[in-house]
Symmetry: C2
Amino acid sequence: MSATAEQQIEGLFSMPLDEAMRTQRAIRRLKDDPVDDAIVLQLIELALRAPTGSNAQNWEFLVVRDRAVKERLGALNRQAWNLYGGIGRWLNRNEPKMLRLMDAVQWQADHFAEVPVVIVACLRGPRLPFPPVMSSSYYGSIYPSVQNLLLAARSAGLGAALITLPLWSTFLARRALGLPWSVTPCAVVPIGWPRGRYGPTTRRPVGEVVHLDRYGNRPFRDANGR
Amino acid sequence: MSATAEQQIEGLFSMPLDEAMRTQRAIRRLKDDPVDDAIVLQLIELALRAPTGSNAQNWEFLVVRDRAVKERLGALNRQAWNLYGGIGRWLNRNEPKMLRLMDAVQWQADHFAEVPVVIVACLRGPRLPFPPVMSSSYYGSIYPSVQNLLLAARSAGLGAALITLPLWSTFLARRALGLPWSVTPCAVVPIGWPRGRYGPTTRRPVGEVVHLDRYGNRPFRDANGR
């Protein structure tokens, strides 16, 4: 790649931090237009700047472009979605916002194999199920990097979303990706140029989720009780 | 707060995304100088922009400033560190870099109650231990927000680090924080103005951690096999 092309790619990731965070959102409807390796590698290079427990850097990233592998992951995604989405639609039958979200998940399920790049973030090493903090430490070594990946995609104008449904069976997901037993697939991020647009998201007000010193003590709630 | 003060605080979080990521590192040696509520609330407000599974936003953030509560968390941290750190020092006795990291962790353990603000990120709702993907989805709803918090702290020039040792017993951590059983403490981030400096980190080369289509296929490794 020429020095100029490299600079152009570099510039893709220099959005102001707060703007990237405020306009990040899951984008599931993606074009089939190709996404260059150089951009994908930069996304992952930035993902690798995130912390890991004891700085172990025990991560591996699968970049899936091969249609046959995407179809296998897509089939796993569809199996989980057929069950989970059915329940979800029924539970949220009176919530138009959730139903719109589910339409986007459905679109993604129907077009999984056409997504240009699917990234699977994995961890090497065993996950001890007990005490709970061991699980937290374990996933605390991969999700910070996944969030870097999502923010970097946002900055570059790429659509991306964090999903785990294709991993409902780690046995089958390992088989689809040729992963050894020592490597656990944790999260999946389909990436492509967006059909939709990025924009602000709505969130619970900060004063409602912040507790000072003890749970339940919420001095930053506003006069409306939020 | 005046409009000007608000603008000054806003500007703290607008570092270019890639610069914030490339210079993020765990900073454990912190000054006792106070950190304003306005900044802490902005850190958490940006943390809340991260995704959660099914957009549940089932997070709660404990902001601990009370010395007595910090001492209880500090005691829990010390208990875990006395065990874990002893083993770690022995395992890494020939690795100066890891020993330096452990010196910083030791400093943090010795000064835990003097840290100006300790943030504990929590999740509401049950964590199903099986299948493994349920655990991944669960923690995938809190660590993206923790990473936003760490990046925002970096942008503002605050020192911060992601730790889980004070949570080795969720029973005792819940008691220290007055958390109900339905809320699980997941990660702890002590925050303050740094004694040390931010700077670039070293990481495994991207070509070594990226596998194309199947595990083990690493076409982006350079000529040195990295």
